[in-house]
């Protein structure tokens, strides 16, 4: 079954979030880790969300996670989402800990179950950035 996909726009970035979106442009899922307290965090921030240290490091995550929840959205009045219905909105819990909101694509939505393994897939844009979503596997 060929699933319509939401066309992603170039993300709006700032200095705190740029490394994540540039990673997506390279096909990498980049997360932050705090060297002082070991917290792995997402979404990216300029400080550690536990100890407020400014010494944040970035690392490339595996891209693997599991489906925490999902929903098949049949009605969204806004372009461009309107024309992509039905699509799958989901929360994925990454191996490294953080939870991401995302879409799951490339499968029959009715085949998705909570707990399934998923892996990140990236849609590059023309500015060297990209947007991640997930596929089963």
């Amino acid at each position: 079954m060929s699933q319509k996909e939401i066309p992603y726009k170039t993300p709006v970035t700032d200095w705190q979030t740029l490394a994540y979106w540039e990673g997506c442009g390279r096909g990498e899922l980049v997360l932050q880790r705090c060297p002082a307290c070991d917290l792995v965090q997402h979404r990216p921030r300029g400080v550690c969300a536990r100890c407020l240290s400014s010494d944040i490091e970035h690392f490339v995550a595996s891209g693997r996670g599991t489906v925490y929840s999902y929903t098949i959205t049949h009605q969204n009045g806004l372009p461009p989402f309107r024309d992509a219905c039905p699509y799958v909105l989901a929360y994925v819990d990454l191996e490294e800990g953080p939870r991401l909101m995302t879409n799951i694509v490339g499968c029959d939505p009715d085949s998705i179950e909570i707990g399934m393994a998923v892996i990140a897939d990236f849609v590059p844009d023309s500015d060297g950035l990209g947007t991640p979503r997930f596929v089963l596997g």
Binding site: I6, Y8, K9, P11, V12, T13, D14, Q16, T17, W21, L39, Q41, H42, R43, A49, R50, Y68, S69, Y70, T71, I72, T73, H74, Q75, N76, G77, L78, F81, A84, Y87, L89, A90, Y91, D93, G97, P98, R99, L100, M101, T102, N103, E113, I114, G115, T131, R133
Partner: protein, 386 residues
């Protein structure tokens, strides 16, 4: 000295309109202020604290409202945390009155969401130029979708059935049939809910609240002052507020702010779920009401589906919820927390006829703001007759 039992709701007014294209939101609020002041026998010049929030009102909302009403209160509160704001405003008013910062608090809400054709459930959230929201905005999250994530996980963990969610909608509609001002009054069945179109799995159209125009006013004062006014005081025995977000730490999506805010409200009141005769609970969606009951401690996590069956939350049942028909069937102009406070107060005063909860002495009010799926607020009140 504890805040418990020190203040009371003295005046309430729910605007009867559900469609008001000829009115501005300020006008709706002014009409509600007049109604609540008449309800308790106070004058606008008695008001020295003003509280408001709205979806379109902007950063100076409480100042602009004071200008429209031509008042100069010495206590201001524009706390905007979503639909629960007005429940939190009662919390804040009680604290301000108890601290001597204010004597007569006027809480106001007015909205023309319906006549503005605001597609709150499925037409918002396109995402602007904000780097912080860039992690959500590409993916097409609608308000309904955000709550559907909660419903789907609840179904996965606990086997909660669409029929059980539908029972909530059916009960709210039955209550609305007894409320002449309710927007939707024609009875519906579980089959009607399940055959209404799917918006975002597992939520159907009839699992979602209506969109109306409307407004309301609540007046809070000291219990001592309230006893001198026109209506029986509704005493604020306990209050609490909280928030939850998804993100760091992978929190349980099914534990919501109500657990913390309700826990604090019950603790302040020195009461528990067994002491409550009726609830008014934010019902943006059927799932909202269900997980709120679990988090407030009326049943265990996962038992919500069974709890709402067999008429338990209907009028005549063990724990009537939203006797006015709620946001699912009566009134939901985008933010409905004020109507939770108003209906609970009206029930505790008595005299509501067919939708009166017999012998109601104590009520639990819980408002949810924002979306359960991403970040949300909660505000809870324990109210009682004097």
């Amino acid at each position: 000295m504890s805040l418990s039992g020190q203040t009371a709701i003295a005046g309430v007014y729910e605007h009867p309109t559900r469609w008001a294209p000829d009115k501005s939101e300020s006008l709706i609020m002014a009409e509600c202020a007049r109604g609540a002041l008449e309800d308790c026998g106070l004058k606008l010049s008695d008001v020295d604290g003003l509280f408001t929030a709205g979806m379109s009102s902007g950063i100076m909302s409480v100042v602009e409202l004071a200008e429209y009403l031509n008042i100069a209160p010495r206590y201001l509160d524009g706390t905007n945390i979503g639909g629960s704001s007005f429940v939190a405003h009662v919390n804040h008013a009680a604290g301000a009155i108890h601290a001597g910062l204010c004597e007569v608090a006027l809480i106001l809400y007015g909205s023309t969401a319906a006549s503005n054709a605001l597609a709150i459930g499925t037409g918002m959230g396109g995402g602007g130029g904000n780097p912080a929201t860039a992690f959500i905005s590409p993916y097409g999250m609608t308000t309904v979708g955000s709550y559907a994530l909660v419903a789907q996980r609840h179904a996965h963990l606990y086997g909660t059935q669409p029929e059980q969610l539908a029972e909530i909608a059916v009960t709210m509609r039955r209550h609305a049939g007894l409320n002449p001002d309710a927007k939707m009054q024609k009875p519906i069945t579980v089959d009607d809910v399940l055959s209404s179109r799917v918006i975002s799995t597992p939520l159907h159209l009839l699992d979602c609240c209506i969109i109306s125009d409307g407004g309301g006013a609540v007046i809070v004062t000291s219990l001592e002052r309230a006893r001198d006014l026109a209506k029986p005081p509704v005493v604020v025995q306990g209050c609490g507020e909280a928030l939850r977000h998804q993100e760091i730490g992978s929190p349980d999506l099914l534990t919501i702010a109500a657990k913390q805010s309700g826990g604090n409200a019950f603790a302040m009141a020195r009461l528990g779920p067994d002491d409550i005769d009726l609830c008014t609970i934010y019902d943006s969606f059927t799932i909202t009401l269900l997980v709120t009951l679990e988090n407030l401690g009326f049943c265990k996590p996962g038992e919500g589906g069974a709890f709402v069956e067999k008429g338990r939350i209907g009028l005549g049942g063990a724990l009537p919820v939203n006797p006015d028909g709620g946001g699912l069937s009566s009134n939901h102009p985008g933010m409905r927390g004020i109507f939770l406070v108003i209906e609970a107060a009206r029930q505790l005063r008595g005299g509501l006829g067919a939708r009166q909860v017999e012998g109601a002495e104590t009520a639990l009010v819980h408002g949810t703001g924002g979306t359960l799926g991403t970040m949300h607020s909660g505000a809870s009140l324990v109210l009682s007759r004097d």
